[in-house]
Amino acid sequence: MSALSELSTLRKQKGGANSPTEKADGRWSLFFLGPWYIGLILITAGPLLASLYLSFTDYDLLTDPQFIGVENYTQMFSDPRLIKSLQVTAIYVFVSVPLQLAAALGLALLLDRGMRGLALYRSAFYLPSLLGGSVAIAILWRQIFGTTGLINQVLSIFGIEGQGWVSHPDYALSTLIVLNVWTFGAPMIIFLAGLRQIPEMYYEAASIDGATRLRQFWSITIPMLTPIIFFNLVLQLIGAMQTFTQAFVVSGGSGGPADSTLFFTLYLYQQGFASLNMGYASAMAWLLLILTAVLTALNFLLSKYWVFYND
């Protein structure tokens, strides 16, 4: 998209002029954009359109798709597991994202105070973000929260008898929420950058006026940081809605125990590849896209009321 808009601004700047050098420029720009276009068509646009078509078909992967109209979409309303998967995903998104952003902001504030060995801490706190989505960490998580895992061993020191956290339907989702909160590194780095942008003079002025630290935080830091908070919120919400790897690995692909970690994308995968209902799975993918778009649009609408742009 950005490349396209750049092209059109280039065009505008040139007005109607049509000299040979400009033609050559255009050709070269296309040449360099070529790989990106090929990627867009083959990897993004093609499959996107194919899945839109497949969402109106009965397609079992093994034989050719049969067009069935909107049946896949109407079927979703009476699918209890789909509704369950929406609930699981909603709980996950609305609990883990605010917690994760709070953790990220808290740590960013601590690190922003310019302590010794800052770079080391910053890297250490960022590390989970690099690892969090990986299969290895999900397997580790399963061990840590298992019946004989690390968490229960620590608890037993205090005489508390824990249980299998990832294998109990009441707690399994919470362990995945904790895993997501733990990967606060990326928003933390962005918060850190945001904090550096706030001019020092505001704080100076405030302290001359006798404002306390806390007061400064609520009246300067937070308002100045709202665009960054908004940015992180949008990104993390979209990311959380697409969570797949952790749930897949921790539950062994089942979404269990008893569907307690049946994320929307995991159910989509089960429908498409295990139950061979690729048509239905494609329709589910489009539902997810629509839901994500609606949530993001809502976010932008609401941003008017709380995001402060200092310009």
Binding site: H168, S254, A274, S275
Partner: protein, 451 residues
């Protein structure tokens, strides 16, 4: 606008030309390949057309897909090497993964027009692929099956075709660790007469022995145990017509046994059970010496024995003499199938024949796929059997007169049923559903899956 268009039009045209050239080239090569194996392509349409003869001077390439453990990957590679040594003009590309990923990968490959030439199959998926024309009717090819018992072979047969050839046979049985029985001070049962009542008492007694061991590991996440239970009552999970053939009451009774064990310490808590389910044989209660009994296939005996470091016994299921009839059955552990649109059907058929009928392949594979289905091969390789294999072979020999029949080939969609059962089983064990609700839910979901 004009300038923008004019700068793009020419490269675009050029790109188009390039694409055209590339596609034409691809089409041409595709045609060339089709010419080489026209007989193979034709066999799909007309049964009368004889498949191409194996030509020792032609180069063939086959892709062979299977699931399994590292041990199996090694064994299969040895079989491939043995075959290609005999037929140097055949190249076989191995394509393997674990059980969980296998079916996802296979379905995706088929959808992408990239079906492996030789495919390891399982009964739950055989009809899915057979009825949809992905795998070939092997009767059209020169593969000997006369040394395989009819009731074993027949499970790979439907719609008048042989869509898979069983590689080996297995029995779902109760594995027991006599050492744990002794530690708990409980006597080993007489498996020829024990009832379901006695089985539950034994499991609970072991759990209550104070030795921190369990009597039994839950196995309700898997269909075979329930199949045995239902067959003892003269019912079947699936009828030969591909419908459900059991009473809900049977499934309710089945779950009540597990719940009784769970409540009284005969089997672990529901959440431990969930963990054990994902652990596999080596991490099972038997494999880690934390349990007296478990439900396993006979070809898993050696692996679990090795993990436990002690000798285990194979037992019949309880209730074999209690009900209307015996419920245990021989199950082909897996099948070998051939892609319906392989480019080298003659070579693929030779390779399948080699794996099923050649004692050389048998000597490598031994009991990895269950005891060899070909009885001649089984006799020929008996000398090489491990102690575990010998035990399994003797156990099966004893059962031969007791087993009434095989189970019918499961219907299309049966691959989903294991996941449905596992999910509802944990709902029941966590007591979020009563066994009655679970049975209802199971029937509703399975009927939709196999619809």
């Amino acid at each position: 606008m004009r300038s923008f268009l004019s700068t793009t039009s020419r490269p675009r045209r050029r790109l188009l030309t390039a694409t055209l050239v590339a596609t034409t080239a691809l089409t041409l090569t595709a045609c060339g390949q089709a010419d080489d194996t026209s007989a193979g392509a034709a066999s799909e349409g007309a049964e009368a057309a004889a498949p191409a003869e194996f030509d020792p001077d032609e180069e063939y390439t086959l892709r062979y897909a299977w699931w399994g453990s590292d041990v199996r990957h090694g064994l299969n590679q040895q079989v491939i090497d043995a075959f290609t040594e005999k037929y140097p003009n055949v190249t076989i590309v191995p394509d393997f993964t674990d059980w969980d990923g296998y079916w996802d990968k296979l379905a995706t490959g088929v959808a992408g027009g990239d079906t492996p030439d030789v495919i390891m199959q399982e009964e739950r998926y055989l009809r899915d692929y057979g009825e949809r024309g992905v795998i070939a009717d092997l009767n059209d090819f020169d593969i000997a099956t006369d040394k395989i018992e009819e009731e074993i072979l027949s499970v790979g047969e439907f719609d008048g075709g042989q869509y898979g050839i069983p590689t080996g046979i297995n029995v779902y049985s109760v594995l027991a660790n006599p050492a744990v029985f002794e530690k708990a001070g409980v006597e080993m049962p007489d498996d020829e007469t024990w009832t379901w009542e006695e089985y539950q008492d034994i499991a609970i007694e072991i759990g209550a022995s104070g030795q921190s061991v369990f009597g039994m590991q839950d196995h309700g996440y898997n269909e075979p145990g329930f199949m045995v239970f239902a067959r003892q009552r003269g019912e079947e999970l699936y009828t030969p017509e591909g419908e459900l053939g059991y009473q809900d009451e049977t499934l309710v009774d089945w779950w009540n046994i597990a719940l009784n064990l769970q409540k009284n310490g005969g089997q672990p808590s529901a959440s431990e059970t969930v963990e054990l389910e994902t652990g596999g044989p080596e991490q099972s209660l038997l494999g880690t010496n934390r349990g007296a009994m478990g439900a396993w296939w006979t070809n898993q005996l050696t692996a679990i024995q090795t993990a436990a470091g002690t000798d285990l016994e194979l037992l019949r299921w309880p209730g074999e003499t209690e009900g209307e009839r015996t419920g245990m059955y021989f199950k082909p552990s897996m099948y070998i199938s051939m892609s319906a649109d392989t480019e080298a059907p003659a070579a693929a058929a030779m390779f399948i024949d080699f794996m099923v009928n050649d004692p050389e392949a048998g000597r490598i594979l031994l009991s990895d796929r269950g005891l060899p289905a070909n009885t001649d091969v089984r006799t020929a390789v008996e000398a090489q059997f491990t102690a575990g294999d010998v035990k399994a072979a003797e156990f099966m020999k004893d059962l031969e007169d007791e087993i009434v029949d095989g189970v019918p080939t499961p219907p299309v969609g049966a691959g989903e049923v294991a996941a449905i059962l596992a999910r509802i089983n944990s709902e029941v064990l966590f007591e979020r559903m009563t066994p009655e609700e679970g049975a209802q839910q199971f029937r509703a979901e399975v009927e939709q899956a196999i619809g």
